[in-house]
Symmetry: C2
Subunit: 210 residues, 2 copies
């Protein structure tokens, strides 16, 4: 059990979230909010001259990638704990933020109690994932861990789609029928279990397949 006062900072671009979190934590004397920031630059400047035990980090910052920021902060301050806050229930995002060193992932619909407990558990070295998040990750494991097998032709089609070519353009480039391109596209979407091309490209790039 952590005996010293837990010093945290909040990084979220919604001032109302700051208010809300601070109001919750105000009733818990064992946790102290050293600062609240709405942008990464201010937060990083603060950390240059102050130390904090834990950061509540909204990964959905407007001008920077919160997932990348998490990685950067962990590299700079190895011992700091980071709890990611987000509305996202997308498995790739959760997995990535954890991979980048976050100690936990809390959805923004979490209760006050959950938030307090998450902060304490993080300081105890635990990984914080509530049931909902764990379920999301459980289904994620199969998909993130292994890329689906795609054939050489499918890969060519995938790369063309990523370049923004239409079905007609791809057909012309590869000397095949547009209907063949459409069949390959459909097969790719089935293999990646998505319903459209943007999601397909998103996953394929995340998996470093293109």
């Amino acid at each position: 059990m952590y005996s010293k006062k837990i010093e945290i900072i909040i990084l979220d671009d919604h001032p109302l979230v700051h208010e809300g979190i601070q109001h919750i934590l105000q009733q818990h004397s064992e946790i102290e909010v050293l600062g609240s920031f709405i942008n990464a630059e201010d937060a990083l400047n603060f950390l240059k001259e102050n130390s904090a035990d834990l950061i509540l980090l909204d990964i959905n910052l407007p001008d920077i990638n919160g997932i990348e920021l998490c990685k950067t902060i962990k590299q700079l301050y190895h011992g700091i704990k980071i709890i990611a806050l987000s509305n996202h229930n997308e498995r790739l995002i959760i997995a990535k933020i954890l991979q980048n060193g976050a100690s936990g992932y809390v959805l923004k619909n979490a209760s006050s109690k959950e938030l307090i407990q998450a902060i304490k558990d993080a300081m105890d070295g635990k990984l914080i994932l509530n049931d909902e998040v764990q379920k999301i990750l459980a289904t994620a494991n199969n998909e993130i861990a292994e890329a689906p097998h795609i054939t050489r032709r499918e890969k060519e089609i995938l790369q063309c789609i990523a370049q923004g070519l239409t079905t007609a353009q791809i057909a012309e480039k590869l000397f095949i029928s547009p209907l063949t391109v459409e069949t390959h596209r459909r097969n790719l979407m089935q293999k990646f279990e998505v319903n459209n091309a943007p999601a397909l490209i998103h996953i394929a790039v995340e998996l470093k397949m293109i």
Copy 2:
């Protein structure tokens, strides 16, 4: 000038390409082909027990990402030179393979003479980019180096698109009109200079914006 015989291996999944390259190089006694491989595993196994000066690497391998493979090989064998072969004239790909350590990028429409000269130049420590490739990269520099500025709302829309949501679904999720979503989508495509969503997501992920 390199005085010793240049020992190279070829990694390309088209046997005809092997034949072609070997036929070209056969007339140049100063270059020796130690092996030709159609998959990465065989090539890596070969390199465990043999050393080569240079690899002609098709980045469009069916079962592995040639760009990532380039990085892996350079990490394992720092001194080896890699010349990427491809039909791609897409700037992101060229830039990435160079960033991953390739000494040069040769389009598959290059002449015999160009290939020979590229191999020699690589051994001399030069960066091999013919005029066509340099032009492609020149236009690329502005785009790859800096992500366009997008607003907080645009970023939300971008993330939703990447998740595969339709315009109607995004509208419902963000409590705005589908027509508003369409306007944001259009603005994003203008900022990224693309014509469709797959290309948008491709660039956005490459730039780590989502």
